[in-house]
Subunit: 190 residues, 4 copies
Amino acid sequence: MDAKQILIMESAKKSFSLFGYKGTTMDQIAKIAGVGKATIYTFFENKEVLLHAIVQSLVAEMKAVAQQAIDQEQTTHERIHRAIYGILLFRKEHELLIQLSHEVQQYGNQVAQQALTSIEREVIDFMSQHIERAVSSGSMKPCDPKITAFIVFKMYVALVFDWEQHEPPLTDEKISELLNLYLMNGLAIS
Amino acid sequence: MDAKQILIMESAKKSFSLFGYKGTTMDQIAKIAGVGKATIYTFFENKEVLLHAIVQSLVAEMKAVAQQAIDQEQTTHERIHRAIYGILLFRKEHELLIQLSHEVQQYGNQVAQQALTSIEREVIDFMSQHIERAVSSGSMKPCDPKITAFIVFKMYVALVFDWEQHEPPLTDEKISELLNLYLMNGLAIS
Amino acid sequence: MDAKQILIMESAKKSFSLFGYKGTTMDQIAKIAGVGKATIYTFFENKEVLLHAIVQSLVAEMKAVAQQAIDQEQTTHERIHRAIYGILLFRKEHELLIQLSHEVQQYGNQVAQQALTSIEREVIDFMSQHIERAVSSGSMKPCDPKITAFIVFKMYVALVFDWEQHEPPLTDEKISELLNLYLMNGLAIS
Amino acid sequence: MDAKQILIMESAKKSFSLFGYKGTTMDQIAKIAGVGKATIYTFFENKEVLLHAIVQSLVAEMKAVAQQAIDQEQTTHERIHRAIYGILLFRKEHELLIQLSHEVQQYGNQVAQQALTSIEREVIDFMSQHIERAVSSGSMKPCDPKITAFIVFKMYVALVFDWEQHEPPLTDEKISELLNLYLMNGLAIS
DNA sequence: GATGAATGAGACTTCATTCAT
DNA sequence: AATGAATGAAGTCTCATTCAT
């Protein structure tokens, strides 16, 4: 890919993040990138196309992070942890940018949205397989592996990401402990 | 409040939901409402002010739904269920509109955002008190009531709302059963 | 004339003087006058008509001041002084308002302009008659009475009004002395 | 300066002179100049800024005319005559435009106003120096040079410019003769 | 007669996009 | 290939005026 094209995308990403889609003018992007305004149109047909290109590249980058985590040689627990954490870190960083896609077309950007969730689903699928095996081997109560993986994922996100939006963040040990408490042992007095 | 003002807000809400903030022109709103364009400016200083007024009214409406559920004479379980469900239904319906507020000001609309989460927090607080009592009375394992309420809420949202975005929805009985499985009994083989 | 009509004219005069013609809205005038906006249109067909009415009333008032000075029983010198001074005071006070008429119509407001100068011309005519008599009686060199009256008027305005726009004002005695020096005795060394 | 910029300024000057500030639309100016409406905004941020630019250029042009007259190799009398005459001609031609600046800001345009009077004052200063020398050399009665120069200027304006607004214009000889009569010899019978 | 709610007409301004250089 | 001067299209907002009450 052309180095200038990347330069333009980086500049646009910066400006979109700071001022929003509508708040960013092509002049501004050109100035940040240090190129002529018309040059942008050599690479991107549209302002909208430019945004989509950026979103797509972010999605791809995110996918790579998750895949890399899963592919690594580590304990299952560790790989899941890394994959989810990678997604979350990334989402946190670029949440704004992803939301920007709504500015352009209400329903048109479902592509990016679906791409994002598809990554999450792959991670969930990965977890699902492990849960299925755990149930088969008798190390876990019988349960719907898909729903369970989904719940584990959501709970993980809740504890790692959502919780620290209003409260002091939890340590990794605490999170691990809580997951065990809620999901494995349960709150009921036996 | 003036009937015409409400008419304008409803028309704007409709158009904002369909075409987005930028995609909605004042002319369009006026035509839908069947009033002159300038009439809108009699009630709302700005296009932006108009949007904020709509968002605020939605927040207020949502708060009322949750509060009403909590105030009702029912079992605790039922009240929590209704409160969360009311919030979710509402959020589902108007999610788009709330996200629109991002189009206007990147950081300026935190008010609406905070208002929304504050409702959730009130519901969570309400649940927290009940959990605390359950722990004291020995009908539940010792645990941080706040985190536990937060987890219950998130799990509830995950099962009722998030799940059905990609999979066939779960019945109320199934949801109840799953909550029991995951949170009360746990997945571990005792 | 209706008391409300006068009230409206006074309010409009105030606002026009402060904010200009364009800068004054009918709403503003109505608020100052403490009447409904539409009430203004009961008395004045137009915003422009309203301005013209105000200008005309100012012209009339000015005319009265000059006439009154001339009609008074005093020395000729004193009457001329009073008449010119009256005009100047008035002009000073309402100069702004008179200039406003230019905002409305470039050439349409010559009426007001002509009315104003017609007053000056009447004063000049009055002086002219006295100069003519002075020349006839041999107490003044032969000269065109009209031009001379015009020059006296202009010199008077220059010394009394124009001079003090940039320099400390001259006393009445100094002005009298200067008029004598320049017009009667001349600067030439005999 | 860009040729297109000048073209726009000329077009705007024409339209402002004909229809006033308020009466001139940007569309109109663009059409006269034969450019797109937005092109005007490439050179002038505002309609108001455009007007000010025109006024400033007129002031500069006027200053040049006066300075050029003073700098010429001629008799003192002739130079003063040319300088004053230049100012008057110019003022006559563009008086309308200068008054237009009042439409925009009541008190804000004092800059242009002051610039204009500052030119007059320079001319008066120039005359003042010559009068001072004449008094010193005994060819003129003792008098305040500044006031005298001011009076000569005003009288000159009155005879050349103001007089012909209502009466047939005076010839140059007649004007010279009258200045001599009134200012040098005086009307008094010796 | 008095009013103010409602509005049409129109003004200024912005900006994504193009095209000649 | 790169550019920036030029612009058409469109949007927001203002305000003098009217008309039903």
